[in-house]
Amino acid sequence: MSAPFQRHRITPWILMAPQLGIVLVFFFWPALQAIEQAFYVEDAFGLSREFAGLVNFKAVLSDPTYYQAAGTTLIFSLAVAVGAMSIALLLAVMADRVIRGARVYRTLLVWPYAVAPAVAGVLWLFLFDPTLGLISGLLGNMGIEWDHKLNGAQALALVIMASIWKQMSYNFVFFLAALQSVPNSLLEAAAIDRAGPWRRFWTITFPLLSPTAFFLLVMNSVYAFFETFGTIDTVTSGGPGGATTTLVYKVYQDGFVGQDMGASAAQSVLLMALVGGLTWFQFRYVEKKVQY
């Protein structure tokens, strides 16, 4: 549609000014600084710095802990996305079946979305506390020693569970909305053709859900990448031995805890490129393969 208000020259700029100002100061200025800083090396006291070309990038990319963090991020994101989406889909399919009560179940399952990732971390930390946790106690009775402060795999599992618990409700809301918009006539027609519930789900409902599933895959990856910082920091602080250090956590650790500005900035730039590239790839290639 062509813009209706044509003859106003100043008004649009007054309207744009607050958002543009904030975006320029708090987004573009820092982003450009990160890119600039990535090419400089600072001395130990932060007093002087000199242009270093790609030295920071080379240092980051030849650091084995960087690849460890990349691997952890991959496992973590996959586990959270697959776990949170499959549980949500199962529950949404059941809630959609029962018709009466679907809204009640939505209310009973939607609230974990409101819980902060850091708070979710604390709740699960309490369940698995080595001395008084309920689940760690049950596991102890079964002969499984639980100590996420020493065992890296257990620490990662704990962070993954807390993240799935929080993210499930988001996926549930979307899957339920998508399921409720599947036309009943299609399902009835299939039922007349003697297709059972299992068959109806996989041949009709599931393909119709694929756009939602694709969207949720993107959102869950973004969530696992960025928003779980609070969970990781409260539960494990990236440990033990870097077992729960994701790429985003490492930017924080190297920059703020380790005070290595160049390395942290180089990692930021690599992350920006990675996220930008993934977004572009998803929308260019993957989305076309999804059935609408």
Binding site: L109, V115, V119, L127, E188, M272
Partner: protein, 281 residues
């Protein structure tokens, strides 16, 4: 026709009920633990039922200065509320104006402005923390509400949603308003804003939760306990103790940190679901 299967329905109900309870379990345990004394907690595994110290625990947290925090939890709750409201209202305010300009006005560099704003969707604050921290430090905004709020407003989610909605407004409506002599400000106030009431409510819920649950940013820029938020305080409570983790304080603070956002999501569930599902389109 064997279209509905009562057996499957009953199974679904049973499984759903079990899952709802399982999802509630971590919160339930935190709530019961927060009503016990430290000594009672460490004499057994986590209690499934309430103790007698609940009133004392919560009163102690809300009124007295807590070791390791340097402030009381009531201050933390107030800080979190200011931050969440500031982010929600600030973001909606600037987004309403910017989306209005982009959709309803014709001006040079309109496309450039559009892209400058929408590129921010790609990079959350977590990726550019260090330089953003330096910018905020240069501006002298460390340990201040403005420092907590402003950098988190710099993203385009709300602008994007509102733009999608504005595009569905029929041009005839604008024409009619113009013929009746309404200028752009009048049109915004009397027609556009009332029409977008449900969208604004939906945005408010989402942005309030986003603001309340922030972690990394407030962690970085608040040294002064007077500006600490409740979500960030949890780690300090966990690590401040020399020996035993003071779980009765930690769980009580976690419960207090959960209550406001859960209340918002349950009270405004209709808008919340609409806002979420709309953001997909």
């Amino acid at each position: 026709m064997h279209y509905r299967r009562p057996g499957l329905d009953r199974l679904s109900h049973a499984l759903l009920a079990v899952c709802c309870l399982l999802f509630l379990l971590p919160v339930w345990l935190a709530f019961t633990a927060s009503t016990h004394t430290l000594g009672a907690l460490y004499s057994q595994t986590a209690p499934l039922w309430f103790g007698e110290a609940g009133w004392d625990n919560y009163r102690h947290l809300l009124s007295g200065s807590i070791g390791g925090l340097g402030t009381d939890v009531l201050t933390l709750l107030i800080n979190s509320t200011i931050m969440a409201l500031g982010i929600a209202i600030g973001k909606i305010a600037i987004s309403v104006l910017a989306a209005y300009a982009i959709v309803f006005f014709d001006f040079p560099f309109r496309r450039l402005c559009f892209w400058l704003i929408f590129i921010t969707l790609m990079l959350p604050v977590e990726v550019r923390i260090l330089p953003t921290f330096e910018v905020v430090a240069d501006l002298g905004l460390l340990d201040s509400y403005a420092g907590l709020i402003l950098p988190l407003i710099a993203s385009a989610t709300a602008t994007f949603l509102l733009r999608q909605f504005y595009l569905t407004i029929p041009p005839e409506l604008v024409e009619a308003a113009r013929i009746d002599g309404a200028g752009p400000w009048r049109f915004l106030r009397d027609i556009l804003l009332p029409l977008s009431k449900t969208n604004l409510a939906a945005l408010f819920v989402i942005m309030f939760l986003y603001g309340w649950n922030q972690y990394l940013w407030p962690l970085l820029i608040t040294n002064d306990a007077d500006y600490l938020t409740i979500v960030v305080s949890l780690k300090r409570l966990l690590t401040s103790a020399d020996g035993l983790v003071p779980w009765q304080n930690v769980t009580a603070t976690a419960v207090l940190a959960m209550l406001p956002p859960i209340a918002v999501i349950l009270l405004m569930q209709r808008y919340f679901v609409k806002g979420l599902v709309d953001s997909e389109k």
